[in-house]
Subunit: 198 residues, 2 copies
DNA sequence: CCTGAAAGCTACGCCTGTTAGCCAAAAGTG
DNA sequence: CACTTTTGGCTAACAGGCGTAGCTTTCAGG
């Protein structure tokens, strides 16, 4: 009986394939049996490379969050102000539409206390950092910056979540609605900065 | 052996208890075994009242959606314009914070084709109707109204989803951030109506 | 070449949901 | 009141999930 030549990285890669193939429910439907099936291996064999299903899910989540952060960072380099906000939002939505399963994995917040999730917390913080940097040109004070980042994340995540969940019945005009939402967001952030000048 | 005196309604009620006790993950963690445990009954006995776990979940989802729609409707009677938008948003968030499990149940969109989910589709449509009515005073044309409703749902749902999921690390200022988000939303919808006057 | 670690495997336990079939309790009927 | 039918429980069993224990085989290093 020859070996399959698995490794921790290979198992995570196969898990990502399973998540990708499962659509928006791919992350919730991730199962060790499916990963083992793709690897051509019996399920318990995976435990030689991964501690548990929960750990594998954390690994997938970390990978997806890293990708999402990178996409946001890539989209905003060389941009500032409203341009940066729109580019960031489109990058987020684009990632979510292209990788619905991975995007769902992105939305599990890491446990603030678990030391095993330190890396996860760090990359999540980097993502917020990217958003904050995109808003730098608005010159907001710290507490308003927090409000603005939260508003941006809420607007985009809410839209994408509803879109992926089938919450928008009329398929037409979804892109246009997103642009309208971004208009509101940009105008709102701009107003925030204006009101701050004494 | 005495009977437990169950009924379909009683099973759904117990399922709602399980969902409530499970926090934000209560809906995902709903299990027939837990419901049976609360009813003091063996798991297979539930099948005399409910066709499957999926059907029970649909029932819970229908109930929760009905409640959320009612809360929105109650909050907006006698209000219009920005006042109505804010009241609706606060009603949505209030329901989500008070009943995180049921709110999660609210977010599963009914299958557009399944005839068994006709009631679910109807009450979901009523919820959108309530939102559209709250925006009536802005006098938006139809396509802009769709954009505005989507923006409102996206902003509030996104905020609540991140809040419940632990996405906001700093516990302070969350209420204030929500109010800032609503300021942006109201201003954005107002701007939509202004731009429409030729 | 030999030894030991690593990577597979099977078997098992416990948890889900679900179906089948049995039996007693309740409800309807002459 | 007695009898029959329906109904709401039960146990047994199966499939499929995660996870553990222990065995065997492969591979790498001395």
């Amino acid at each position: 009986m020859p070996r399959a030549g698995l490794s921790r990285e290979a198992v995570v890669r196969l898990a990502l394939e399973v998540v990708d193939d499962g659509g928006a429910a791919g992350f919730a439907g991730l199962t060790l049996a499916q990963v083992a099936g793709r690897a051509g291996v019996a399920t318990p064999s995976l435990y030689k490379h991964v501690g548990s299903l929960a750990e594998l899910r954390r690994e997938v989540s970390l990978q997806a969050t890293t990708e999402l952060t990178a996409a946001g960072s890539r989209a905003t380099v060389g941009r500032s102000g409203p341009d940066a906000v729109r580019a960031l939002a489109h990058a987020w939505r684009g990632y979510a539409l292209q990788h619905p399963g991975r995007y769902a994995a992105t939305q599990v917040a890491p446990d603030p206390d678990d030391p095993a999730e330190a890396a996860h917390r760090q990359v999540a913080a980097q993502g917020v950092e990217v958003a904050a940097a995109a808003l730098r040109a608005f010159d907001l004070p710290d507490d308003r910056l927090v409000d603005a980042v939260r508003a941006a994340r809420s607007a985009v995540h809410g839209f994408v979540a509803l879109e992926l969940g089938g919450g928008f019945r009329l398929p037409q005009g979804v892109d246009a609605s997103f642009d309208v939402l971004l208009d509101m967001l940009v105008a709102g952030i701009t107003a925030l900065s204006v009101h701050e000048t004494p």
